[in-house]
């Protein structure tokens, strides 16, 4: 029975439960709705809820747990001799899964009988050939242990699925019956249903916590795995980044310092562009501009924030890079070798951050009480003196917070640096040289067919961990500063 039908059946049970529960409640009140504690639909919903919710919970847990059980059962079947040199149990298991999947598909399309797929003992060449003919992706030659394991795999999985279907349907029916039994005039159905909804609302809110937990766990586990293969000292203090994909990454040098330097250099360039422009724009918009200019200029600037980063990446690679190259390259000053460079990525990232800085600072400047401005004007100060001597000092903590948030954005930005900054990791002071960042290397280490057992792929998780910790730290500090500042005028 496929998953789809199982879900449909459970939903059908819930629906029938709803109708029956509603009818039963009405009947117990002798058809007079006013005698019931709750509206009739609540009695129905109570039954439907108690039928569907436990059944679906069991289903989800079972679906998550079954693969682990099956894997442990089957991997015990594979003899050590079947794992060839340079291979691993995980790879053989992947082969088993592929073969089982292939058999499933062939049986489903009717090119092989179920009996044959289950019991074939001899002639594995033939089966491999037949699977290949049917367009299934299998290895060149399915060996005997793999075939045996694949057959056992199919048996275990189908038995598991059968038991799961039965358990889930039984749970649904039992839930519905239990709920029907408690249905009568005095049953407080609305309260029960509302309690259920409240739990559902709470679990939705919990997803945010689970997401953070998922991020932390997936980063921590893989990072620990990486540090088992590669010394942490070399990672944090190594001055060279040269991953080597051959020989399972044995000869790689994976020092993070060049990447961190590239990240910070590009972010500094970006902030050097974004902070003055964004700050002056915010000051002008909130202190000088009339309502008309403000109504036009503010949304136009904010368009810059709504543009996807891939667009900025392309802009850096194809427009800004060549433009800078024509000025600073061989035709001009001769200090730039290629279009992709720290300057290119930093400049474009700065443009992206302008609206970020300006709208945050705008909010903060507007939060400075008018009385402070009036006081300053009353003493004879000009507008610019008021801004420089009164408003900016008062708004300073908030502006620092905004700049830190912008910095965390810049550090975590990916597409602009992937396309605009180049791929070479180097420690250099020349902003017209290509450098690379933590995010760009995460992308390049994890795209393509990564083998998760090699340090060359696992290093991406350690890089991600570093990135996560740095941006989280910046955010917490920024939010702390902003929050502390806000308390002053409320």
């Amino acid at each position: 029975m496929s998953l789809f039908w199982l879900i449909v059946i459970v939903l059908a049970i819930a629906l029938v439960g709803y109708v029956v529960g509603r009818a039963r409640a009405l009947a117990s009140a002798g058809g007079d709705m006013r005698l019931l504690h709750s509206l009739p639909s609540y009695y129905g919903s109570n039954v439907a809820m108690k039928a569907a919710v436990p059944a679906f919970l069991i289903l989800v847990v079972w679906l998550l747990a079954q693969p682990f059980y099956v894997d442990s059962r089957i991997s015990g079947m594979i003899p050590q001799s079947a794992i060839s040199e340079g291979s691993s149990l995980g790879l053989v298991m992947a082969e088993v899964r592929r073969a089982a999947q292939g058999l499933d598909n062939v049986v489903a399309s009717g090119q092989m009988t179920e009996d044959f797929a289950r019991n074939a003992r001899a002639d594995f060449n033939d089966i491999t050939a037949r699977l290949k003919d049917a367009g299934q992706i299998v290895t060149s030659q399915i060996t005997q242990p793999v075939m045996r394991a694949a057959q056992a795999y199919r048996v275990v999985v189908s038995t598991g699925n059968l038991i799961m279907s039965i358990v889930v349907i039984l749970a649904a029916i039992a839930g519905a019956l239990l709920a029907l039994r408690e249905t009568n005039v005095d049953f407080r159905a609305r309260n029960t249903v509302e309690k259920g909804i409240r739990v559902a609302l709470f679990s939705a809110a919990l997803i945010a916590v689970l997401t953070t937990l998922g991020i932390v766990l997936s980063l921590v586990f893989n990072t620990v795995e990486f540090f088992r293969l590669y010394p942490a000292m070399d990672f944090f203090f190594g001055l060279t980044w040269s991953p080597s994909f051959s020989g399972r990454g044995g000869s790689s040098e994976l020092g993070i310092l060049p990447l961190l330097w590239g990240t910070f250099y590009i972010s500094i360039v970006a902030l050097a562009v974004a902070v003055p422009i964004g700050l002056f724009a915010a000051v002008y918009l909130s202190e000088y501009a009339g309502p008309k200019v403000r109504a036009v200029a503010k949304p136009l600037l904010e368009i810059l924030a709504g543009i996807p980063t891939i667009v900025y990446g392309l802009f850096a690679l194809l427009t800004v890079g060549p433009m800078l190259l024509s000025v600073f390259g061989d035709g001009g000053l001769g200090i730039m070798k290629a279009g992709t460079a720290v300057m290119t990525a930093g400049l474009v990232m700065g443009v992206m951050l302008i609206p970020f800085v300006s709208s945050l600072s705008d909010d903060i400047i507007n939060a400075v009480p008018q009385a402070m401005r009036d006081g300053s004007y009353g003493l004879g100060a000009t507008r610019s003196e008021t801004v420089k001597k009164v408003i900016l000092p008062a708004a300073l903590p908030g502006i620092v917070g905004a700049i830190l948030l912008a910095a965390s954005r810049a550090i975590g930005e990916t597409m602009i640096v992937v396309l605009g900054a180049g791929a070479a990791a180097r420690l250099s002071l020349n902003p017209f040289e290509a450098m690379t960042t933590v995010t760009a290397k995460i992308v390049s280490q994890l795209t393509g067919d990564a083998d998760f057992a090699s340090p060359v792929a696992l290093v991406a998780f350690a890089l991600g961990m570093t990135l996560f910790v740095v941006t989280l730290g910046l955010n917490i500090v920024a939010l702390y500063i902003v929050r502390k500042y806000r308390e002053q005028y409320d």
């Binding site: 693969p67 609305r190 509302e194 559902a200 609302l201 709470f202 939705a204 809110a205 997803i207 945010a208 916590v209 997401t211 953070t212 998922g214 991020i215 997936s218 980063l219 586990f221 422009i277 002056f280 724009a281 002008y284 000088y288 600037l301 810059l304 709504g306 543009i307 996807p308 980063t309 891939i310 667009v311 990446g313 392309l314 802009f315 194809l318 427009t319 443009v351 609206p355 000009t382 507008r383 610019s384 003196e385 420089k388 948030l405 954005r409 975590g412 990916t414 597409m415 992937v418 995460i442 992308v443 994890l446 795209t447 991406a460 998780f461 991600g464 990135l467 941006t471 989280l472 955010n475």
Partner: protein
């Protein structure tokens, strides 16, 4: 401040000390300096905004000017009639497509003479301009033998370099003679354009097609990845809207004031600032490594983007729930509704326009997101065709618009850059539509209490 702190206003100071003016009409030095600094400061502000808008304009201009050529393609139009005898003769030869090519060249020559253009050309030049036309012609007549003896028109796509010449990407100055294109070919192309044989037509294939191989920039289209993005957005919409609304209702209406609630709130505001690539790592580790969901599937992409957009949606939903005045709640409770009923029957419908606006803006953000998709394998070159059916749309490997654009931008061939800019136009059209929809919703339904 008292006067004792001030420097004494002695008259015997040096000559460059600011002179206090005696007249109200003449500005003294200090005032003039202060006014100048005021003007300068204002100019900085205007300058900052001008720089921002300047970048916006440069961006818009380069997108439009570089991207529009992707929507057209250069074709060579040739009409000729193939008789049964010519067909048989060609089929009997050893190099059949070569024979068709000869017929094609003959027809082209005839067409040119008819229009009074006389340029010499050889088969090699034709092959450089339209590839090898023989195969297409042969396939056409083989599958439509009835059309033998009747005039047939062929619209053959020109090679990517000729396309580039027509778009101004390849010029006589920057080209070098190669086996792909020679300077003499450009003269021929000019003549053919004058004769109306080479024309520019709208490139439907770019909108409906799928990604092509590295060697065929002309055939690349964004259609398949638009479908991938669409299925992904369905997942995001149907997961993030209910979950986001439920979480907001809990936090806004039910959550008790305690440490756990605080933790959830801090979590949400931190998640909003986590770099998108970290969500990609999460998707790779949890959904693909741990749960064994299919790689490159829009379903997984949708799940990752859902987790990413949830904070955005929760923040905007809470704002719109907060904006509903407490009197509505009180009135509902006053006539005997339970708290749940008051919220679901009265507060939520009133907050709905704001929630939907926030959701659309969140979806637009998710639509433009690239980095997490690259990590879960939704790169451009897997978008080789349309999915077969609805379920396959969610689970079969596909790409998404921004990832497709990235793949094109990362290819070395310049012809793909044009496609990338064109893809950006398509992407921005979608984003613009969504944002306009959000603005309309807000204008139409937003209520001020």
């Amino acid at each position: 401040m008292t006067d004792t702190n001030l420097p004494p206003l002695t008259s015997g100071a040096s000559s460059d000390a600011p002179v206090k003016s005696k007249s109200l009409y003449a500005l003294d030095d200090l005032t003039r300096r202060r006014n100048a600094s005021e003007t300068r400061f204002k100019a900085y502000g205007i300058g900052a905004i001008a720089i921002g808008l300047f970048f916006l304009i440069v961006l818009a201009v380069s997108i439009v000017s570089e991207g529009l050529p992707a929507f057209t393609k250069t074709v060579v139009n040739v009409n000729f009639t193939l008789t049964q005898e010519q067909f048989d003769a060609a089929e009997s030869q050893l190099f059949k497509t070569k024979a068709y090519e000869q017929i094609f060249i003959g027809a082209l020559q005839g067409q040119l003479e008819e229009r009074g253009v006389n340029v010499p050309f050889d088969a090699a030049a034709i092959e450089r301009i339209v590839g090898k036309p023989g195969g297409t012609i042969r396939a056409y007549f083989q599958s439509n033998p009835d059309n033998l003896g009747e005039p047939a028109g062929f619209e053959l796509a020109a090679s990517s370099r000729v396309d580039g010449y027509m778009n101004g990407r390849v010029t006589r100055e920057n080209m070098t003679d190669s086996r792909f294109l020679q300077a003499s070919d450009l003269d021929l192309v000019d003549n053919l354009v004058e004769a109306g044989v080479i024309t520019n037509v709208f490139n439907w294939n770019f909108i409906t097609g799928a990604d092509s191989g590295v060697d065929n920039p002309g055939g690349a289209g964004i259609g398949a990845s638009v479908v991938g993005s669409f299925f992904m957005m369905l997942v995001v919409l149907f997961l993030s809207l209910p979950i986001g609304v439920a979480a907001s209702i809990y936090l806004e209406e039910f959550a008790p004031q305690n440490r756990f609630t605080d933790m959830i709130e801090v979590n949400i505001s931190n998640l909003a600032a986590v770099p998108s690539i970290v969500f990609g790592i999460l998707g790779l580790a949890v959904f693909i490594q741990f749960m064994h969901l299919p790689q490159s599937a829009p379903l997984v992409g949708g799940l990752v983007l859902t987790l990413m957009t949830l904070p955005t949606i929760i923040i905007s939903t809470r704002a719109s729930l907060k904006a509903v005045p407490p009197s509505i709640r009180d009135a509902a409770l006053g006539v005997g509704a339970s708290k749940m009923q008051a919220i679901f029957h009265h507060v939520l419908p009133l907050a709905m326009p704001g929630i939907l606006t926030g959701t659309i803006i969140g979806l637009a953000q998710a639509l433009g997101e690239t980095a997490p998709l690259l990590l879960i394998g939704m790169v451009g070159f897997v978008a080789r065709g349309y999915p077969e059916g609805i379920v396959a749309g969610f689970t079969d490997p596909n790409s998404a618009m921004p990832a497709q654009i990235y793949t094109w931008a990362a290819r070395a061939d310049y012809a793909f850059y044009e496609k990338a800019w064109g893809g950006i136009i398509v992407l921005l059209v979608f984003l613009l539509t969504m944002n306009v929809l959000a603005v309309i919703l807000r204008r139409r339904f937003e209520r001020r209490w």
